[in-house]
């Protein structure tokens, strides 16, 4: 893991804290007007324009729509290289981007069934915040 000293700013503490529902529990929105499920959370339904959106917890399963392996990572992710990021079509409809985990590069396929797990996304150095959130791995069972 990268051990650079990078202190977390108070603004990013609040930002990470605000995203906990999405990152820990895959909570997005369901449109009361058209019934579409949305992730990430939005204020207005992009399908019908309704503002009547309610929290919706996704089951956390889907399939790989496409993927790419990262060798030149953004700051904070150096320790995971090489890692695979995928577009995942959730069973409820939305397409989300997430890192894959517990996979080998050669074992990833389009159409593969995956499930959500909670893992370390990054840490702000040895003194800073550890950020947890969703990643996806091949379905273990069922």
């Amino acid at each position: 893991m990268a051990r650079k000293k990078r202190k977390v700013k108070s603004m990013s503490l609040a930002r990470h804290w605000r995203l906990q529902d999405e990152r820990y529990k895959l909570i997005g929105r369901e449109c009361a007007a058209c019934g579409k499920k949305l992730f990430p959370t939005r204020d207005i339904c992009p399908h019908c324009g309704s503002r009547d959106l309610k929290p919706y917890r996704f089951a956390g399963r889907g399939e790989i729509y496409s993927y790419s392996t990262i060798y030149q990572p953004p700051a904070g992710y150096e320790g995971f290289v090489p890692y695979t990021v995928a577009l995942i079509r959730l069973d409820e409809g939305p397409l989300i981007t997430a890192q894959l985990t517990d996979v080998d590069r050669e074992g990833v396929e389009i159409g593969q069934r995956v499930e959500m797990v909670t893992r370390r996304l990054r840490e702000y150095g040895p003194e800073g915040l550890i950020v947890y959130g969703y990643k996806f791995r091949p379905v273990l069972k069922g």
């Binding site: 820990y24 909670t118 550890i130």
Partner: protein, 347 residues
Amino acid sequence: MKPNREVGIIGYGAYIPRYRIRADEILRVWKSIDSIHLEEKSVPGLDEDTITMAIEAARNALKRAAIDPQEIGAVWVGSESKPYAVKPTATIVAEALGATPHTNAADWEFACKAGTEAMQAAIGFVGSGMAKYALAIGVDTAQGRPGDQLEYTASAGGAAFIIGPKEESLAYLEGSYSYVSDTPDFFRRPHQYYPQHGHRFTGEPAYFKHTYCAAQHLMEELGYTPRDYAMVVFHQPNSKFPRRVAQRLGFTEEQLKPGFLVEVIGNAYAGSSPLGFAAALDEAQPGDRILLVSFGSGAGSDALTFTATEQIVKNDDTLLRVRDYISRRREIDYGTYCRYRDNLNNH
């Protein structure tokens, strides 16, 4: 001892990481011991720690219990590898499960018996009527200094147990007994990454005395002998100690086998005996009585007796069992292990 209101386990779940390093691979590098008594141990991935493992074990327990997480009155995590020195592991776990905010959350510590300690507290909490359900988790990413004997066994994993009323349980509590003393067999000072241990001193005055006495006193109190038990699970720091104490108490290899995991996953410290207990529950049939005996250095043992009910049998193929995690394995070499355990930065 047991609470006035009868309680039991209404759901349980386990987690073991995917990666394994074989003991002979560690021996190849260090040549530091004469003989090996286990095959391999589990190793956490780069994005795993006590919190992520606790969350998955607890999610498995919740799925089996099929309850609303908002009904959980306490989330208690026992571990000696907290990702934060100050900031509870348990609040992050509780948040991820959806148990917050109307719940209690705390971290427990007693070396390798922190998990059963959390279970006992949960038994008391539910048994006193202070909560309908309480979640107790024993989990660790164990530390062992490179080249030390501990490196051959120190592994990762954990198990979670939801305690609730006896009438809803898949295994109910018959009684528990704790036995502790100030025995400095193994310890880690603040800001130190690796523990110190007393080599042979960790045996007779520490592990054997406490596990034997806790088990013996509990069986006497309940009026049972080893023959009354279907299975027995001890803390598993290596493959010799639990076998020896089982034999001294009068248990057979058959009783030990279902929860004996150290040879294939190593010693997950606070997750060790809880994982063994979860594996025993996976095999249990209604009426089976199980003895669980933890050991934590410093030192102490909790002994608990549970009996499986009709609800132990679940015909749900989507429930993950301990053996599912054991068979999910990716072998790594010592260099990869050093990277995953961040050993290049810790020296």
